[in-house]
């Protein structure tokens, strides 16, 4: 048997995009085959087709030499295909054991059985987990371990891992790689989806590159260099050189003092964080998702109650002030989830005036013509691609929604910008544009709080970097002196030795 999986001429169209355009892909027994591509290249779509979540518009799939129709995940499982999704798809309000029970045979819940199964996996791969724990108590890394166990517990031979490292710290990544190598030794076939070159080189036997839905090449990992691969992936030579000019920092714009904030479940998520940002400075917060970054940002922007400590903006104490008050001080906020930054069902114009609609009103009556003019100006300036200002935002692509939010947030009088994953899910070009814009704002003297999981982004843009771990800062370092390894360790909870 030469291949375990062969996908031929797979095409999948979504309204407005061809996510997969006649893609060929094959997987050999006992190999780790990396699927590499920028955000939006169509990797997840291709793997969702293999896992039966989407149906291809065209194309054929062969598993172990036989043509198959995979209509649902059930079909995929019966073929021995398992998947670890890009973001954990666990049921948070159930226990670990109950999450696993979803996949195991038997009608009655038997915890002993599940326990012994986990024990076996722990011995084989070092995947340990407390079966009694509620899933919402788990860290992102632990949730992913649960997903791995879910994928393995049915004895799957073909494993799809969709960007498994996004939610992991560098050391967790290393132990994941060890698990993958052990599985490979056992003869399992693995598809490793990623957009990070280093990882792909570290683990893959062969690499398939996707770009804008098309397959560009499949090459053995040993026969290609990083630079060549990057070129294949992006489609043009990449020069990741952003010019960060030296600036003189101005007055202190944001000061956070010993902040303590609860999460949705009432547990302490931010445990006494202090820092300050001056005008013209980018303060980066690195860390794996779920370590209190969201709660911190929400507390600063007035969206979440502060339990203890204080937030001072431009010398004014805004602790537990309403978000409306804080916006009035000139605080712009790019949220991590674009669905929080824009009402998808409302029009482009409505969304562009979301925060300053009162500027267009006289005695409570809106001057819609003025609002439209301004919206059209912003659309042009920020290159937002939209048929007109009246279409609902949900018809725009992710990159354009991101630009719309950015346009609204940064076009006005902005003193402090809170950018939470501003480039999340965007392709290289859009990412670069947004990073340039942040540097531009920095030059204009805006204080910027940049929260990102993308270490590269943080290193590139920030003047100072804090690493957040379990609700506290592991340390604050000068970006000039910071080393990636050191920050990586701090992300995993290791304090720097000073």
């Amino acid at each position: 048997m030469e291949t375990v999986v062969e996908m031929k001429g797979i095409t999948k169209r979504f309204p407005g995009v061809v996510a997969n355009d006649h893609v060929d892909f094959d997987l050999k027994p006992g190999e780790i085959h990396a699927l590499l591509g920028e955000n939006g290249a169509g990797k997840t779509t291709l793997m969702n087709i293999l896992y039966g979540l989407y149906r291809p518009d065209e194309g054929k799939i062969f598993v172990r030499g036989e043509e198959v129709k995979i209509r649902s995940p059930k079909d995929a499982m019966e073929l021995g295909i398992a998947r670890v999704p890009q973001f954990p798809e666990t049921v948070d309000n159930l226990s670990v054991a109950e999450n696993l029970a979803l996949l195991l045979p038997g009608k009655i819940l038997r915890k002993n059985k599940i326990q012994s199964m986990i024990k076996e996996l722990a011995e084989r791969y070092g995947l340990e987990l407390d079966v009694d724990a509620m899933v919402y108590e788990l860290s992102m890394g632990e949730k992913q371990r649960l997903e791995l166990i879910k994928a393995l517990c049915r004895g799957a031979e073909i494993l799809i891992l969709d960007e498994p490292t996004t939610v992991l710290t560098p050391s967790e990544v290393e132990s994941l790689f060890q698990v993958l190598r052990r599985m490979k030794e056992e003869g399992k076939s693995i598809v490793f989806v990623s957009h990070k070159l280093e990882e792909v080189f570290a683990i893959a036997d062969r690499i398939t590159v996707l770009r804008r839905g098309k397959k560009i090449a499949t090459v053995p990992a040993k026969e290609i260099t990083k630079l060549e691969l990057a070129k294949l992936m992006v489609g043009r030579p990449v020069t990741f050189e952003l010019k960060k000019e030296p600036v003189v920092f101005g007055e202190e714009v944001l000061k956070v003092n010993n902040l303590r904030v609860l999460d949705d479940r009432g547990l302490l998520a931010v445990k006494g964080v202090s820092f300050s940002i001056r005008a013209g400075e980018i303060f980066g917060i690195a860390g794996v998702a779920g370590n209190g970054q969201r709660e911190l940002v929400e507390a600063i922007t007035g969206l979440r109650r502060v339990e203890d400590g204080e937030v001072v903006i431009l010398g004014k104490d805004v602790t537990n002030k309403s978000s409306a008050d804080i916006i009035k001080l000139g605080v712009a906020h790019i949220p991590d989830d674009r669905r929080v930054g824009a009402v998808l069902t409302l029009s482009v114009m409505d969304n562009l005036m979301l925060k300053n609609y009162t500027n267009f009103s006289k005695n409570g009556i809106l001057d819609l013509r003025k609002a439209r003019e301004l919206a059209e100006k912003l659309i042009e300036k920020y290159k937002i691609v939209t048929p007109n200002v009246n279409v609902p935002v949900q018809q725009l692509s992710g990159g354009n929604i991101a630009r719309l939010i950015l346009a609204r947030e940064t076009s006005g009088e902005c003193k402090l910008l809170i950018a939470f994953h501003p480039t999340f899910g965007l392709d290289v070009a859009a990412t670069e544009e947004i990073r340039k814009l942040l540097l531009e704002l920095r030059r204009k003297g805006v204080a910027i709080l940049l929260v990102s999981e993308d270490l590269e982004e943080i290193m590139q843009l920030s003047d100072r970097i804090a690493v957040m771990y379990r609700g506290t800062f592991m340390g604050i370092v000068d970006s000039e002196k910071a080393k990636v390894e050191e920050i990586g360790l701090m992300m995993g909870g290791v304090k720097p030795e000073t």
Partner: protein, 302 residues
Amino acid sequence: MEWVTDLLTMMISAGTPLLLATLGEIYAERSGILNLGVEGMMAVGAVTAFGITLVTGNPLLGFLLATLTGCLLACVHAFLSISIRSNQVISGLALSMLGLGISSLAGRRLIGTPLPVTIRKIPVPLLSDIPVIGAFFNQDPVTYTSYVLVVLLWFILFKTKLGVIIRACGENPQAVHAAGIDVYLIRYLCTLIGGALAGLGGAYLSVVYTPTWIEGMTAGQGWIAIALVIFAVWNPIYATVGAYLFGGIRILQYRLQPLGISVPLLKTLPYVCTIVVLVVASSGKFRKRIGAPAALTIPFEK
């Protein structure tokens, strides 16, 4: 002590229709489907059971068909909210109106006719003699069935794989789908269980509790059942507490009448209590501990 036992006996009986409807709605909501049509399904169940019993003289057949019609009506909601992903609030309201309409149409010739049969209480020997506890064992067969249902439904929900699947459907249907399980099937199943039990609850009202047909005899009990689901934190065992409590409120209404309090004012008692219960259930501490299923009312798209 005797009067406590008597009171409890009456509370249980008065609470049984509510209990049945609440149990059903718990299952629907646990799977992620809010069915606001309970009132309509109860009304149709009530009129069906009453009519069939009247015509055939066979209450068992009446109950069976009431359960079936409850299911049938729930099917409408299931189709609208599961298959075609409609707004569940609107769909549930539609069901309520439809059910009430059908019950008044079907019951137009039944008004005032007494039933030829009555469902008697069958005391369980020995057990029914125990003070207080005995109240539970001096009931009719339907109430006994409801005890079995409480335990059975609780067991399924928390101790079996099916239960895990149902709860997971209400929390994160995507995960259930990715596990190779048909979310639609589970949600249909639970919605139908909801319909069946609401129909049964309605049947109990018209055949056992007040064996006559009055238009609008459900009098908002379906809505109260929906409130009780929240009060019971989506747990069949706790549903008994709420249902019997409201059974008690119903009894209280009759007990207070001789004191000279105006009847219409007394009638507001269950409605006021429902609001109070809801407010308590949704206030601060209580809500933090356990909330509604995360995917409740959110349609699932494959």
